[in-house]
Symmetry: C2
Subunit: 165 residues, 2 copies
DNA sequence: GCCTAAAATTTTAAGCTTGAAATATCATAT
DNA sequence: ATATGATATTTCAAGCTTAAAATTTTAGGC
């Protein structure tokens, strides 16, 4: 077996001694590599984009349906964005859009039967891919990484960005 | 002082017991939050987009200039992408595009004086923002996180994606 | 010189993303 | 009833992203 090719770091060799920036770039690189790999595999093997998968995943957990605004909040993306993704999903018959019976402004989006079946396959593959990509880490390493990322999340929540700078 | 608001995790509450997927979603959330925050601040305070900053950062480390292909490789994005970003950067006089003296196919992109000055301010702010966002982690935590992400990088390099799936 | 394969780049089409402006509806106070 | 402000959504313009096709140039082989 040949040694696997090392993954190049974005801005490799840059930033000199700024350890924090290097940490951030390494984090970004890992996230980007995983995301692009999943995106590529979804496209190649299922003909599905990542945003569509995200919408379907959210809807799968809410069989009663979700409004556009709820989807926007759950996925951390803008309202206008959801409109476009849901429209193509509806065009391809993966979701249905129905007017809300209680609120004339809102629409209720639901997975169709076809959408549910499609998503089941996507979720299985997704799960397997993640497992394989993390296989090089021990159980302890994964736990430690999960906890440290939790600490980072806290640190991010504490940084309001209001420093005058 | 009020407690900072917790950061919602993408697909919060989803995925049940699949620890690996949860680890991935937490990693993705951290990267996304940091990236969006930087993007927003660059836009608000400097009127610059992240891709343009990335190109300027690469060029700043290569005063001799880079070809489109080198930029594409360094930034892990497609060729066609670089073309567009560099063109708007050139339109705004931050970079110059000159034909290569040795290869008629290639162009050489360089930061202009205006580009260098602009980038210096961007890099300073960028550095400060990262420091502030990581301030909640101890030195040991940052070292541990950096090392674990290094292990993850190795794990990613080992996963070829050739499993039949 | 001429042909061909490889390399660097640009162009194109489709889709994602955002923020801001525009629409439509709801809820409430008069 | 009607005016007001808030809410849900859509539309729009600008920019990023990719893959694939087209273009241009290089480098060799004949």
């Amino acid at each position: 077996m040949t040694a696997p090719a090392a993954i190049r770091e974005k801005h490799d060799g840059a930033m000199g001694a700024h350890g924090n920036v290097r940490l951030w770039l390494r984090l970004l690189t890992c996230a980007t590599v995983i995301e692009k790999r999943i995106k590529r595999r979804f496209a190649d093997r299922f003909g599905v984009t990542l945003p569509r998968f995200d919408v379907m995943a959210a809807l799968d957990r809410h069989p009663e349906g979700m409004t556009m605004g709820q989807l926007s909040q759950a996925l951390l993306v803008s309202n206008g964005n959801v409109t476009g993704v849901v429209q193509t999903l509806a065009r391809d018959r993966y979701v249905s859009i129905a007017p809300s019976p209680t609120d004339g402004r809102a629409s209720i989006v639901r997975l169709t039967q076809q959408g549910r079946e499609c998503f089941a396959g996507l979720a299985d593959a997704h799960h397997d891919w993640i497992d394989a990509m993390l296989a090089g880490l021990s159980r302890d390493q994964r736990t430690a990484l999960y906890d440290l990322l939790g600490a980072l999340k806290h640190s991010l929540a504490a940084d309001t960005g209001k420093e005058d700078a």
